[in-house]
């Protein structure tokens, strides 16, 4: 078990003591000063009691009960803020990395803001541009947290100009990674800086970043670069309803476990354009990624120690069956496109109905990039070489993911609202989940989600979903009923049924019963049921979830 680390404790002691002293004169002399002291934070506990369930492949859990919990506590006074997060894993819930183990304070910081200068010591999250060269963030649902531990400066010397500087190491569970990450970023809103542009209808913002990492080379086979830099330039142009964003990133060669130790530079290009007026919105995006994995430990894999973030250009589905096959960005190479159209059909028209209708259509495709041998005798991706050559605009032969979906949402009557959705998804298991001999999955998903408003602020919502595919586990059906009493109570019952499984013994029901109570900033939820094996993704980052069966208690609180 891990206790509060020696290096954390003095920092925490100083921070809390300082916060206390800040309040002392206030407490003794002046109630007015007290009003400037602010304490806030949040808390979460998720505990699950596990039953072995051989029918769905849920393993026996020796501890019976597993729990993840954390609390953030922050104190601020007159531009000065200190805070920490206490985390507890007793032991980590199934599906979370078991290296989350025990208790500790892996996140603590002190920051000060004065005259447009913000200084942070300790842990912080930051992002440059869209994150192609730098993004430190947390996604608790996935157990991803690559918070920096070091120093951050943010300075806004004039309106429209932001300069950022970061240096530190990244969080790796209850420790930090071996590499040091340094970065600078500048963002300039030309519209604000140059008065002559103030009257122009277009607004142009430009930005540039440089990030480098240092890690000692201990490799006996290769001469590896100890310092690896990545550069990015970006622009955003807005004129009326039109918006254009583009970012290009280049990374110096960075042999790593992720790219099989090839000495090839990395590139990433992400372009998004949108046109939006009231009642109509359209978005087109294109992305090309080539060898852009960038971590502060060249031997890291999985979700560990990522310095950058490569956003997938696919839709993030919100329903259980449509999100059964989620896409994750392929940092070693990917060409992707997405188009999305959202429009409203006005009320009191034939198609719009009495209350109006909203339609969303989305198409996305992710494909391999073109790759050629660098020499006739060297296989593509050969360790210790430049790996391959790639033509920038040429698409590769392998499809990774394709998704076409339509969603229609309308109020059918005063008390009834409906959402209907269809999705076609093609999913390359071998690439996305790392298998070698699995077939491509082609799935069709239909969803109906109806909400019936009842008197006294009660409502009944039910979902019907169906997924049909000849691959993987074949067909699924899902039904859910949720009864809620606003603003406090929720009750739900649901079942996912793998009725089409080719193996009759695996035609399992995944039923769940749940109740939740939400009041002010607190929420308590208790549920019992089966969790199917699968992949959970947020923001294109995923984790595998094993099958399980049991009771779950989930408590969240903000204060």
């Amino acid at each position: 078990m891990i206790s509060i680390k020696q290096k954390t404790y003095p920092f925490l002691a100083a921070a809390v003591f300082l916060a206390g002293l800040l309040c002392l004169p206030a407490g003794i002399r002046s109630q007015e000063l007290l009003s400037d002291v602010r304490i806030w934070g949040n808390f979460e506990l998720e505990a699950r009691y596990y039953f072995q369930d051989s029918l769905i492949g849920a393993p026996e859990v020796p501890e019976k009960i597993l729990m993840n919990g954390f609390a953030n506590v922050n104190i601020s006074y007159s531009g000065f803020t200190v805070g920490f997060r206490y985390e507890s894993y007793q032991n980590a819930l199934l599906g979370y990395d078991p290296r989350y183990r025990g208790n500790g304070i892996p996140y603590r910081f002190a920051s000060y803001t004065q005259d447009n200068l913000e200084i942070t010591l300790g842990n912080f999250y930051e992002q440059f541009g869209s994150g192609l060269v730098f993004r430190s963030y947390e996604e608790r649902a996935l157990g991803v947290d690559n918070a920096m531990d070091g120093l951050r400066l943010v300075y806004r010397p004039m309106d429209g100009v932001t300069l950022r500087g970061v240096i530190g190491q990244q969080r790796l569970f209850f420790d930090t990674g071996p590499g040091i990450v340094r970065g600078l970023d500048a963002r300039v809103g030309l519209h604000s800086v140059f008065p002559s542009l103030a009257n122009q209808t277009g607004r142009l913002t430009i930005g540039g970043s440089v990030v480098s990492k240092f890690q000692r080379d201990m490799n006996p086979l290769f001469n590896l670069p100890e310092n690896v830099a990545a550069f990015a330039g970006r622009l955003n142009y807005t004129r009326g309803a039109l918006n254009l964003s583009a970012e290009y990133a280049h990374k110096i060669n960075d042999p790593s476990a992720e790219n099989n130790f090839i000495y090839k530079d990395g590139h990433a290009l992400h372009i998004v354009t949108s046109y939006a007026v009231r009642g109509f919105g359209m978005l087109l995006s294109a992305k090309r990624i080539d060898n852009m994995g960038f971590r502060s430990d060249r031997n890291a894999t999985g979700n560990d120690l990522n310095i950058n973030f490569l956003p997938p250009t696919t839709r993030q589905h919100a329903y259980s069956l449509s999100s059964m096959y989620p896409y994750a960005t392929q940092p070693n190479g990917e060409l992707g496109f997405m188009a999305e159209l959202t429009f409203s059909i006005p009320r009191e028209t034939i198609l719009g109905g009495s209350y109006g209708t909203t339609v969303t259509m989305n198409y996305s495709l992710a494909n391999s990039i073109h790759r050629d041998r660098i020499h006739d005798t060297i296989p593509i991706g050969q360790r210790g070489t430049e790996g391959y050559r790639s033509r920038f605009f040429r698409m590769g032969d392998e499809k990774y993911f394709e998704d076409f979906n339509v969603e229609i949402s309308r109020r059918i009557s005063r008390g009834l609202r409906g959402l209907f959705s269809y999705a076609y998804i093609a999913y390359n298991q071998n690439v996305i989940e790392g298998y070698v001999d699995k077939e491509m999955i082609f799935a069709h998903i239909l969803i109906a989600d109806m909400t019936w408003r009842l008197p006294e602020r009660r409502s009944l919502r039910w979902e019907l979903q169906h997924l049909s595919t000849r691959q993987d586990k074949q067909n699924w059906a899902m039904a859910m009923i949720e009864y809620s009493i606003a603003p406090n109570w929720f009750f739900s019952i649901s079942d996912q049924y793998n009725y089409g499984n080719n193996d009759p013994d695996l035609r399992n029901h995944y039923y769940t019963l749940g109740a939740a109570y939400a009041r002010a900033g607190n929420r308590f939820a208790l549920s019992y049921g089966r969790q199917r094996q699968g992949v959970i993704c947020v923001g294109g980052v995923c984790r595998q979830v094993p099958a399980s069966n049991g009771f779950t208690l989930h408590v969240t609180s903000s204060f």
Binding site: G20, L21, W40, Y275, F280, A518, S558
Partner: protein, 169 residues
Amino acid sequence: MKQTITQLIPVFGLLVTLFAGPAFSQEGRGLPELTISGLDGKEVNTSTIDNQGKPFVISFWATWCRPCIQELNAIDEIYDQWQEHGFKLIAISTDDARTRHNVLPMVKGRGWEYAFYLDENGDFRRAMGVHLIPHTFILNGSGEVVYQHTAFSEGMEWVMFDFLMELLE
């Protein structure tokens, strides 16, 4: 002994902090000073968000969050009544680099008329103690948080409306 004293320092600090009497939680507090951006890319200081002396609502949401969209849809249907009384909804998108570009086409396409901002790095979300979304705060005319709620179900838009009316009185 020295170690014991060192360990007691933060406990003492915390006790002093508690007994000095700063108000806990978001309730009764104004908004923190942080930078977020508008949908046009212009940076905005969160402490300047107000509603000219009238109560208002801040809702944290995301384009991929189904209950958040239900909430914004439900309020949209009665937003005329909100506006008649001078109430306003400020929607803070927590979308990250993957989905933040979808925010503008989605809100325009759906015809929502709220004030929208992007909190891509999550600074505002963390400073408000938001973990799950939708997470909604109601602020009085002085810009102080007086109520907060996590989750949405049909009818919550009227609960909020009633609360705003009480504040008006």
